[in-house]
Amino acid sequence: MSARWPEVPQDFPKAAKVTLQDEQLRANLGHATTAIRAKRGGVVAEVDDWEDLRDEGAAARDRALRALDERLVELEANVQAAGGVVHWAPDKAAAQRIVVDLVAATGSDEVIKVKSLLTDELELNPALADAGIEAHETDLAELIVQLGGDRQSHILVPAIHRNRREIRDIFREHLPGAGDVSDDPAALAEAARRHLRETFLRVPVAISGANAAVAATGTVAVVESEGNGRMCLTLPRTLITVMGIEKVLETWEDLGTILRLLPRSSTGERMNPYTSLWTGVTPGDGPEEFHLVLVDAGRTNALADPVGRDALRCIRCSACLNVCPVYERTGGQAYESIYPGPIGAILTPQLQGLDTAPTLPWASSLCGACYEVCPVKIDIPKILVHLRGRVTAETDASGKGHHAGVERLAMRSVARVMDSRPAYEAAQRAGRLGLSLLQHGNGRPGRLPGLKGWTASRDLPPPEPSFRSWWREREATGGAPSVGGASPVERPAAVGGAGAAGSVPLEVVVHPPGGRPGVVGGPGVVGRPGGAPTDPTRTAGDDA
């Protein structure tokens, strides 16, 4: 059984302090994210209309979200017309209850599962276990996490924090029939295949997530690599698919657009090995019973925020994790949420409520790399800054919450600068200036002389050893160490640069609430190495 996430996360700075001690973790992550950035860069460069495609993807997601009530009702009608049953879960407890009851009704005391972030978010496995139902994870990485009693650290490759030798040891100890398997990835995959084959053929109920569903046709899509998804979607008698309400798309063509964007952004492949689409039930082929569980669980909180709701466009490709300098150093578990990295920093606080994860919006340097790679153009830095403002305002207004004592003082200082009109307005002006410099007539970031590395390149320079060494260097050199490979001109701060935006608010904006010394190295914490942590083109923007 995989470990549960804490009910109330401690906070990112504290958790990151722990994971930053782990050299092995950082080595594993650095290796993996460097490899995937290169792969992604290669296959994205192949697509000559990639920027148009991103616009189209963003628009497709937005169109569905802006009329979400209509799309959900339409989806429901079409799934039902095709022989499926639709269930609605306002929150986690309701979703757990619905799924447990559906499994219980089949009489089976075990289910097979295909990797689904949502079922992890909903803590479905513990809920099933409490009801005496055993859930078999069938995705290789989920199996590694489950057998290791571990937690996920990446949305696409949940065991990315483990290297092959660690995985071999977990398999030898916990995987029935693994014997003394070697650490060759092919041998490890073969061991998983042998172990699960009989399970696929035996267990009569499967639980899956969904990458998307088309309202106009009632079609549901699952994207995967190993074939465990196809096994789960095809062989059992009963299929239960759990889907966040935000995943719906309006048209069939929109799904084509998303499927052009997703694999290249995600695994850096032109196409993932298997994509399954199905509409209700098909007589003689696949499950006889299909249940679609539509889950809110906080998504409507995000939907109500005119800035924050863009996070709901996310198609969970994980590209933003792989380019994030903060993620690369702290690892996914420091975010204490099933959604780590830049997307986790904007999604988790909105899904769970800002008061339960108030430090996550500070888990970023606002360097903007995540926005550059996001296939649906979520302006993550803008949402982070917006949420920081909300945390500050809402904590101040309530006078309680997590920010008692010292933390509260620091929060006030953040609030003071955010509230200080001249400083804030100066930041905004500089931000707009930077933005207009960066934009061509089409509203897309253009290239500036000397800035090619920032606006056009899709990969970051290789990782630094750690924040602490960066911080030590920063202190030794009086605040602006050079960072391997990145010349100062490649940093966006140099664009809208100087003046008020460069100094006044930025220093404060990157403080986490509490600005604890020694957090991830000291105050200023998760600033982008290079001493100019904030991208003024994205700082204040239109979040006033």
Binding site: A35, A81, P90, E226, T300
Partner: protein, 221 residues
């Protein structure tokens, strides 16, 4: 209130709140779908070449042949197997069908582990991504047939190859099967053999789906 009413009420309230919170200019408008303009015609040879190259990139086996060569190509792809363990769906063209093949359309799940290979046609193929798409019609068989056996031999006619994923969607609209309902076929997009990158992001072919994929591309005579 039912769960359905609760969720829909919260969605509607959220949309209204966001509308109000968006400021005097209202929410940023969503652009109409700006689908890229597609060429009217592709060069069939170019599509076939690109498709073959990209399938090969996945470490699948690609064989190119003319209409008269399919039977031999199929036989070669199965040469090392016991003919009694090869299946083909009922609707597969006779010329493509291996001798003594089992009728894959009627095999039950419990019988499939004994099948070592399956030969099918496909609905269409995608050049840009090296993908074959199955709609599980009579010449392809139900989904389980191309899933459980360890080898999948798939025959693609060059006129079935489209440029990119969105062209495939345009060509396979469920609306062609009438209004949404039980008549809408499932679709399976297959790009190479099953694989995982879960261990150190290193791609390893062959996990749960067929470990060997052979694609036979049939050009015009």
């Amino acid at each position: 209130m039912s769960g359905r009413d609760q969720v829909l009420a919260k969605v509607r309230a959220a949309l209204q709140t966001a509308e109000r919170g968006a400021g005097p200019d209202g929410p940023r408008p969503v652009p109409a779908p700006g689908r890229r303009t597609r060429p009217d015609a592709w060069d069939a040879d170019e599509l076939a070449d690109r498709f073959a190259e990209r399938v090969d990139d996945y470490r699948a086996t690609v064989v190119r042949t003319g209409p008269d060569g399919v039977g031999a190509a199929v036989a070669a792809a199965l040469a090392d197997l016991d003919p009694g363990t090869v299946a083909a769906p009922a609707g597969l063209p006779a010329a493509w069908r291996p001798d003594d093949a089992l009728d894959g359309s009627v095999l039950r799940t419990a019988e499939l582990p004994a099948v070592s290979a399956v030969v099918t046609a496909c609905r269409l193929a995608i050049a840009e991504t090296g993908t074959i798409v199955l709609d599980h019609a009579d010449d392809q068989g139900p989904r389980r047939l191309t899933l459980v056996p360890d080898r999948h031999v798939c025959v693609v006619r060059t006129e079935q190859i489209v440029d990119d994923v969105d062209d495939a969607f345009a060509a396979m609209s469920p609306a062609d099967h009438g209004p949404p309902g039980p008549g809408t076929p499932p679709l399976t997009f297959v790009s190479g053999p099953s694989a995982t990158s879960d261990i150190e992001l290193q791609r390893v072919e062959g996990v749960h789906g067929p470990r060997t994929l052979v694609v036979i591309v049939v050009g015009p005579g």
